[in-house]
Amino acid sequence: MSESSKVDKGSTRTYTEEINAARHAVMVMARAIKNRSIYPREHSGIMQMMQSAMKGLQTFSEKFGPLRLNVTRHALLYRDETVLEAEHTNDPVVHPMYRDGVIWVEFMPGIEQREFELFVDLLIKHRKPEEEAKTTLVTSLWESDLPHLAYEAVDPDLETTPPLDISVFKIISENASEKRAEILSSPAPATPPALSLPEHLSDYDRHSIRHMIEEEAILTRPEDILDVLLILLVNQNSEQEFQIVLKSLVDTFAESLARGEFVFCARCLRSIQNLIRKTEHKSKWRWRLLGRFMEQACSVSAWEKLAAGINDFHLEPKDVEAFNFLIRTLPEQIMEPAARLLTSARDEDLRRILVESIALHAKAHPELLVKLLKELNADAVLELLEVLERLEDEHIKPVLMELSKHRDAKIRARAVWMLTRKDPNAAMQLFALIDDPEPAIRKQILLHLGNQRSPTAEDLLLKYLNHQKSVTRDKGHILACYQALGRCGSSHSLAFLEEMLFDSPWKDTLNRARATHRKGAASALALLATPESKRLLRKGLYSLAPNIRKACRAAMAEADLKSSTKGTSNEQD
């Protein structure tokens, strides 16, 4: 057996190991890519998969170096071995690369998590081909310029393009042949022309140029762009083209807003306002479209980006002033983004501006406020309640009544507080909240009911307690209801309270709820403090049933304590 034909078992093992390692790394990567294309990236499972994929690449590269994968129509190959087959024609891993002409892609040692994530996101973004695309996978990879990701791509269209035939490009020249002959035949001048040679670029020139480039790189030139778009706008006579320019203005406005460039945005808005004023009676479609700009400037997405970064901006007085102008100038559609912004903004000046603006619009358009209150999340609604306080009663009461039924307990509580603070009688309209799962709300309702001294409140409580007597309920709640009855009730309640105090004392052992009602009745009688209620309590003190005596004693002791405390505090006053 010759040397060359001997099987080197060591190298075969290493080769197999390498292929398997490549296959494993690619499979883990493919799984991560597929799942990231379906689920949110913040999903903990997805984040873990991405980290595992990175680890796979790192482990491979530590042992075997760069991982270069050749891309074919149906598979990824490593050293001519298939390491991943495309599952279907829309496979998110193989297909976008093949379609866009990627021949191979190489993950180099040292590749970082952010580079890998960007690569994955680009694959996902360009998964589906677009007619008249804005970008492709390859143009995006080129732009990203990832230092640890190499690739080679052919332009599929370029491959079928024949080289340019220069002969088809025409140069027309009169008397070309005569001129040729003249130039060829005339002797060369004896001396070369006196040239004024351009100066070489000095170090200072190079430094200046570098500075020029650095400066330009950080400039976004929104003012110039705005001026150009405005010049373009006033020069448009076609509605369609006017709309196109206006859309760009909206985009420019939105981008600048997201960066917190309020002064610029205010300028933009003033310019549009001027145009509206000048256009008003001259051109209906212009006027209509300009009005639509104002609405589009209120679009939620533009303001959402602002909300994300608003606390990071260092705002000067002119910025705050500009922000004020923006919020006040934009139409009522600004209410929703302003409300959302209110949940993020911490700056007091900005918050004040937002609240004032929402209040202003809400006065004119209360229905919009109601709609917002229904649609927005709890945090935003809580912020908006501050706005409601500035509105007139006839506007806010219906809104607050709606909010008292809100799913969020904090909002219900605040709505109840606001309603009952202005109108204690509102507690009767809110009686259903006596069964609210939130203890604080129940307490508020009962407090206000108890302060009423009204037959309506008394009747409501009587009916409620009558219904509750056979139901096992929170003891504290039942007692509180009786106390409220005691505060607001009259002799009308005596019959019920007498019955609850004296009826069937032996039932307490079998029915805990009954004992609670008995105690409650005693408490209510004590709080009523009428001669008849006191008589009933004294009667109870001498009852044969120990539980009745106990209930009456406790109620009278509590009432005495309360009155002595009141007396003491009166003395202190």
């Binding site: 695309a133 080129w142 990832l146 332009d155 024949p162 060369a188 480039i213 981008e255």
Partner: protein, 496 residues
Amino acid sequence: MSKIETPLHERLINAFLRTARAVHLYADNNQAVVKACAELKQILDRSTEEGEPISLQISSGHIYINGEYLRIGAQASASAERLEEYLTGRKINGIVWEPEARDIPADKFVPFFRILAHAKEHDDPLTWIRQRLDEKSLSWIRVESHRDIEASLPGIKTDEGEAHGSLSSHQAESGSDSKAMLWEKGRQNYGRALFILKSIADKIKEGKPAGVAKAMRQIQQIVDMIISDDQVMIGLSTLRDHDDYTYVHSMNVAILAITLGHYIGIPKQALATLGLCGLFHDLGKIKVPLEILNKPGKLDSGEWKIMQRHSLESVLEILKLKASPELKARLLLPPFEHHLKYDLSGYPKFHRRKQVSLFGRILAIVDVYDAITSPRVYRQTSLSPDAALGMMLEKAGTDFDPLLLKAFANLMGVYPVGTLVKMDSGEIGLVARRPRSQYLDRPQVRILMSNGNGKFVPGKTVDLAEKNGHAGSFRRTVVESFHPGQLGIQPAAYLD
């Protein structure tokens, strides 16, 4: 897209900087210094074969290792800039570790870096460094000036097959085969980009949406070619077409803009944007009636107003393209500004003082250059490239940014590519390649030989910087220049 340089070279740059910093901060025997020197030595040993030197050179803002252009990734660009500043601040354009550096222990690097650390204190740091290296007998390392780098270039390639200068494309292999491939690739890219531009214009005329992805891809490939070696694309930018002037002109403007942008150091992603600005800068001309565009005589005031609108219309057409709002925002300003002039005396009129954007100033230069070197129906003669450059230089500071124009003049040389020249040898030739930086009036010229039938055939390429003997006179000198169009010559046809 070719494979990027290995991280090893980036590690070399970082190790060099770390060592310089450690020596600056600490004493010689400090662990930080010892560790940094050891790492640098290790990387140097890995970077080359035994018996070979390692050279690190800086020229025109680019870094070369062993004569190969180093493509710096985003991560390493800050380090590359720091290295450039460090070396050029000491008037050093190159460092060469001789082969015997392999046998030097790492701690022997310290004296060298100590010398570098103190060099800036002296008026002529480079000479001072050399003197100190001599004194300390550090013969395993030497430093180079700008002149030394040029002098270290081997002879220029002719048809007989000598190697290109060392500071050339890392993509191009030696040999005329690769040159032919480059030209073919260049023509493909040019042709494809032209086709895409025309398709976009047709779609706009039909009111259909037009995406920018294909145009972007072509421009990116052109950027790659220009970064690698700009001569092919500069050569193709000499193309002229009587019938299809606007589109060919737009292609040439894109190429020249990218070339100038690359020359002054604009990063590659921005070069792609600049290229697109060039490609689309005259898109508005599709709305100018052909009878005005092709009118042989002078335009009257009404026609001139229509023509002037094309800058604004170009912006409108860009807004119609299917591109992200961010890209459109980057693309729309330069086309608007390209006729504004440096002193704002151009059009469209602007109501306030502002500075024309960098890309707008670049487009202004290359747009005018290509336009005045192109034969047009309304102009009896077009200027030869060198005459055009001369005329433009007179308008530095008014029509054109003086610094950018100076850079353009340096880039193109006194006789730009495509100029037809007559030399004192009696030979006629086309400028094929711009000159090496020292001699702006001495480019490389492709000799044209008459075939006796009224046509020219391309001959060998000669370098006008070549001298007779070591210190003799120049072999050839330009004595006259012409516009190639006068002779019906399409330069690009002769330059491959």
